[in-house]
Symmetry: C2
Subunit: 461 residues, 2 copies
């Protein structure tokens, strides 16, 4: 491997992701037209405000084909919040007559302009990042910080790095991905002076890894990757980034450096599986699959996936605690509503042990702890529904009837609600019920989740 | 419960265990005749020696029906060991013309006299217990210590306590039982001033419990019960007594005090099981029984049982480590040779899990430990006999083929010899082979081990 191999790969990637002149011009024209519409709309308002384009399309770090234009409308910092929201929406609807309202920290208008997805977001024009009144007020400072530091070469490296993160599945700070945000990607490229030097550094990271570009951090974090926000000493830009995604970047950084190839940037998913494919894997593996299937709660992904993961952990712990050893697990959700109602969500687990004996061992206190020992012995002295009490070392032991001898028995019982479930998952299961699939019957999931099952049975870093 | 209830029970027990006048006279006559024979035999030897009756029959603490007479022949302390052995055997054979030689610390003669089992043991006549040249030299000091302290009432209480220990299965300092020796039983009764006060104390013990009658102990022990030998400050008389037998005494002491009854002193074993009985328990319990069956190594019990237990622990750990969860286990041995060769020995285990999937999870190093991580990934990067490597948190994981998918597969393989086995058990298994029984097939063991299986499936303290 020589540098020139990696350079050649990067050049080939750039051929595919760098916006060409026409795309740049079209975007600049759209942005200018939108800004001018904002100024027109502002002219009718009794406040002094201005428009500011932010985000990757403002900084030349977008990938060809991205169609997002973010326009922030900055209102005076002393405006009260209600007025800000009213004026913000007024401007939004004036600029994007066909737009609709969405809600982040405030309501804002989202719409289409000339083929671009436009967000028109009101914020406060505060003097420094430490004066922000709402989280979105920070964005203009991010924009200013990066714009000042990104020359054309670095912006190109940011695009390459973002494409790399997409290729390896680590791009996005949404709570489904728990990966690297665009802002984080840009800060890392700036901090390391380029894509290749960032890769070389990441290949050798030993988390916890901390960067503090402005050397102004004031608190400590427990996250594996810490990048102190240059505009906010108390914020870790990488707070959402999971240990797994940090490891993923490390793994593929090494991989790309050792064997530079374009395919890592545009990695296809493993092929989707059909029901036969699922059965064939289960047969080869000898595990028993179980699945709890229910109507997907109607939540945004950032609420849904944490709840699904929490529920999956709860169910898996509940199975493990009862002796049904979970081999691997995953959760799937069909969030594409197709007009025919919500899709399904699945808590999926492969078990090493799906059945247990009729008896379970129940350890009592040491005999010498007299009061407890007498209580325990008295409770089990009579009756023929158990074996013992007898002694194992200095303790009483009984062998009593096991509550659940099969994993499905547990999953189909009310005991499922004793485990920690996500709030809306729990209410959905309680209210609408759920199905339990076991063994080869889970193969039916391939109809809705063939792609997910394809990834599950072809796992890779 | 009143004291008089217990007193009545003790009185009834004494009716059954106290030697009557005729038994006492017969024993005294036999002992006197044997002593006189010893003196006659010693008269022919060129050394000054004397005879001393020791043991429970010397101290009035034997239970009716016991037929053991222990005679020690004390030779001068400056005699060399070879002469001691020669003279000892000479006296032995003269006194017990039909006797045979056995071997403890020295060889000695054992034989029958007038229906009594007589041990004629040579020892050194040392001035104090700290001058002993061999372990048996201590016995006369034990005898002197107890004889001085045991009046008729205490001797009677010793008999009752010994019968109680037999009834609950905790009597005997052999390495099969790991219980209370006769000497330990006598010391405990003397220390507590009687049977009932000993029971009341034991019911409240909180091990480690230590007694030092002569207040001269010089070292510390980790055993649950410590009784410093009055004749040897460095010796714990209860060293062999297991935590389980200490707990057993505590349990039954409480039981007898709460509900005094004669039956605890003469507790029958649970009924033996036949093959149908074994199958019926296994069916009810839903476990999978496995048994490793082999020719019982030709060892004395004190060597055999520790080896069997070590082997059982080794095999059970080996099963557990491979995911075949051991529910309960036991070892049985048929040490009664009947002229048709040695009996069988069994390592028996009930399993909660007898089969595992074809795959097993194999965790690699954290990705950030670069050298190990690269080595692990490289080892599993290619090939289609495994799933992964993939990431779980910051670690690599692969799912590879499991070596043993069934407990019997493991037990029938050479991997059985990777676990810690007793030395002679290991050589027997290697040389003579072994059978593995599984599931209902273990019911065949009821033919030789019906009593043991009866106890196994009716466990009690």
């Amino acid at each position: 491997m020589t540098n020139s191999d990696l350079d050649a790969v990067v050049a080939a990637v750039r051929e595919r992701i760098d916006p060409d002149e026409a795309e740049r011009r079209a975007l600049a024209a759209a942005a200018a037209a939108l800004e001018s519409r904002v100024h027109d709309a502002l002219a009718d308002l009794p406040v002094d405000a201005d428009a500011l384009q932010v985000g990757s399309t403002a900084r030349g770090t977008w990938l060809s084909g991205d169609r997002d234009i973010d326009l922030f409308v900055r209102f005076p910092a002393d405006l009260d919040r209600e007025e800000l929201e009213t004026y913000g929406l007024e401007v939004g609807h004036a600029v994007l007559p066909d737009g609709h309202e969405e809600y982040a920290e405030h309501p804002y208008v989202k719409g289409d302009y000339d083929g671009f997805d436009v967000d028109l977001v009101p914020c406060y024009d505060v003097p420094t990042a430490s004066d922000i009144r709402s989280a979105v007020d920070r964005t203009p400072f991010h924009n200013a910080y990066l714009t000042e530091r990104l020359d054309d070469d670095l912006a190109a490296d940011v695009r390459v790095f973002k494409r790399f993160l997409k290729g390896i599945g680590a791009y996005g700070s949404d709570l489904r991905t728990e990966g690297f945000s665009g802002y984080l990607a840009e800060l890392l490229v700036v901090e390391h002076g380029g894509f290749e030097s960032l890769l070389r550094a990441a290949a050798d990271w030993s988390p916890q890894v901390e960067f503090d570009p402005e050397d102004h951090g004031t608190r400590s974090f427990s996250d594996p990757l810490v990048v102190i926000d240059p505009t906010d000493p108390e914020r870790n830009v990488a707070a959402v980034c999971s240990a797994e995604n940090v490891a993923r970047l490390q793994h593929y950084a090494r991989d790309l450096l050792a064997d530079p190839r374009e395919s890592l940037f545009f990695r296809p998913d493993p092929p989707a599986l059909d029901a036969d494919g699922v059965r064939s894997h289960l047969d080869r593996r000898g595990t028993t699959a179980v699945a709890v299937v229910f109507d997907c709660p109607d939540l945004v992904d950032d609420q849904l996936y944490p709840q699904l993961r929490k529920s999956l952990t709860g169910v898996a712990d509940g199975l493990d605690r009862r002796g049904f050893d979970v081999f691997r697990r995953a959760t799937f959700a069909d969030t594409e509503t197709d007009g025919e109602g919500q899709g399904e969500a699945v808590l999926f687990a492969e078990l090493s042990v799906a059945e247990r004996p009729a008896v379970e061992r129940h350890e009592g206190p040491p005999v010498h702890v007299r009061q407890h020992a007498e209580g325990f012995y008295g409770a089990y002295e009579d009756g023929d529904d158990h074996y013992g009490p007898f002694l194992d070392g200095d303790r009483y032991v009984v062998e009593r009837e096991r509550e659940f001898t099969s994993a499905t028995g547990f999953l189909e019982s009310d005991a499922l609600f004793d485990v920690a479930l996500g709030k809306h998952v729990e209410s959905t299961l309680k209210t609408d019920g759920y199905d339990v699939l076991v063994g080869d019957d889970v193969a039916a999931l391939a109809e809705s989740f063939g792609a997910e099952l394809g990834r599950y049975f072809a796992p890779r870093p």
